[in-house]
Symmetry: C2
Subunit: 216 residues, 2 copies
DNA sequence: TGACAATGTATCTGGCAGATGTATCTTGCA
DNA sequence: TGCAAGATACATCTGCCAGATACATTGTCA
C-alpha cells in the first residue's frame, strides 16, 4: 500500500512535468498546501522509490545549468497508478484540533483564557480568508482556461465557505465567553508569545462512530 | 516539551477522576473524539510516565472488583500543569484532507469520479451532522447545569456550523461537476467498496503562510 | 463445567513532521 | 573584478504517534 505522498507527487507531475523535489515543495506551498501538508522529509526518499518502481523517471528540461538538481516526469505506469488511486474512495484522516481541545477543557482555566484563544483564532482566520480570496482572484485571472481550473477552484471555494462559517461561529463564541467573563469577574489572560506569523488555513477530517455518548 | 496526549489525559481527569486507561478511551470516543483523535498506543505509556512525573497518581474508587485495571486521578501538580498549558497559545496542526486532494487532481480522472466523491462526502456529513445535533440535544438535557457545559457546547456548535457550511458547499460542487459531466460525456465511476460504516466528523487545522502563489 | 465469543487491556512498529545540515547562488562593497 | 555574508536551493535524520496486533478477562450457551 503506497503512501499518499506518492500520489501528491504523481498528481503534481501530471499537472506540470519536469519538476525537481524542491520545485514540488514550492508548488505544494502555493497550492495544495492549504489543505494538504506534505512531509518534506518523506519527499526525496519517495522520489527515489517511485523511480525504482518505474512510476516516474528522471528527466531534464532544456538544460538550465542548475547544479545537482534532479528533475522528474511521470511514466505511463505512473499515470495509470494516479488515475486508479483517484477513483478509489477517499480515506478521512483523523481530526486533530488543539484549539477546540483547549476550548473544550476551557473551564479549568476560566473564560478569559478561552476568549483570548478565540480572538487569536478569529484574527488568523480573517487573514487566511483574505489571502485565499486573493489567491482565488489572481488564479482565476491567470488560469481560467486551464483544464484543471474548475477543480482547483472548487477546493478553493471549499476553503472560503468553511472559513466564513468558522468566523461566524467565532463571533458567537466570543459573545458567549465574554458574558461568562462578566458574570464571574475577570479570568486570566493567555500567556502571550510569538504567534508564528500570519498562518491559518483549513483542513477537514472526520471523527469516529461513537456508541457511548457519555460526556456530551 | 510534553506531548499533547498528556493534556488530553489531564483534561479528562479534571472532569472525572478515577478513570482507567480504558475508560479514557471510551470517553474520548464519545466526546473530544469529534475533533481530537488520540493514539491509544500512546495512552498507556503516557499514563506511566505521567505517574512517574507526579502529575497523576493511581487511585481506586469504591472497589468494583474489576480485575487488573488501574485507575488514575490528577495530583495538584497535574492540575497546575493543565492550567498552564491551557493558557498557552494553541498550535495549529498541519491540514490533511484526502478528499480535497482527490478533488484538486480530479481532472485526471474526470468529473464522474469527482461527483462520486462529493456524493459520498455529502452523505457522510449529513449523517455526522445529524449525530452531532442529537448528541447536542441529549447532552444539553443531561448536562445543562454542569460547570463545563457552556464550553462543551461551544465546541459542539463549532462542529455544527462547520458541517452545515460544508454541506452547502457540497451542493454547489455537485452542481458544477454535474454540468462538467454533461458537457463532456460520462466519466468513470468510483470503484465502490466498503465505506467503513457511518463515520464523519470535523477537525480543523491551519495551513502555512505561502509566499509564492504559483498554481491556482 | 468447558468451549467459544466478545470485550477489556496493553504493547510494537513503520511512517511521518519538522529540525537540522550542506551546497550553491546573489548581492554589496572595496 | 574579487570576495565575504547572507539568502536560497536542496537533502537527511530523529523522535513521536496511529493503528495493528497480542494477550487477558469476562460473559454465554450447550
Amino acid at each position: 500500500m503506497s503512501s499518499r505522498t506518492d500520489y501528491v507527487i504523481l498528481g503534481l507531475l501530471s499537472i506540470e512535468p519536469h519538476q525537481s523535489g524542491y520545485e514540488m515543495r514550492k508548488t505544494i506551498q502555493g497550492s495544495v498546501g492549504y489543505f494538504w501538508s506534505e512531509s518534506y522529509g518523506q519527499l526525496y526518499p519517495t522520489l527515489k522509490r517511485l523511480t525504482a518502481e518505474g512510476l516516474i523517471a528522471p528527466s531534464r528540461r532544456a538544460a538550465k545549468g542548475r547544479g545537482g538538481r534532479q528533475e522528474y516526469s511521470m511514466t505511463a505506469a505512473g499515470h495509470a497508478r494516479l488515475k486508479e488511486w483517484l477513483a478509489l474512495p477517499y480515506r478521512p484522516d483523523p481530526p486533530r484540533d488543539e484549539f477546540l481541545l483547549k476550548l473544550f477543557f476551557g473551564r479549568e482555566a476560566g473564560p478569559g483564557v478561552a476568549v483570548a484563544h478565540v480572538r487569536r483564532f478569529q484574527e488568523d482566520y480573517r487573514q487566511a480568508l483574505a489571502l485565499i480570496e486573493e489567491i482565488g482572484r489572481v488564479g482565476t485571472a491567470k488560469n481560467a482556461e486551464h483544464p484543471h481550473f474548475r477543480f482547483w477552484n472548487l477546493t478553493l471555494e471549499y476553503g472560503v465557505a468553511r472559513m466564513r462559517a468558522e468566523l461566524e461561529w467565532s463571533k458567537h463564541a466570543l459573545k458567549v465567553l465574554e458574558e461568562m467573563e462578566e458574570e464571574q469577574g475577570t479570568g486570566s489572560r493567555v500567556q502571550g508569545t510569538g504567534r508564528r506569523a500570519g498562518k491559518a488555513g483549513m483542513g477537514k477530517a472526520s471523527g469516529r462512530g461513537a456508541k457511548g455518548s457519555k460526556n456530551v
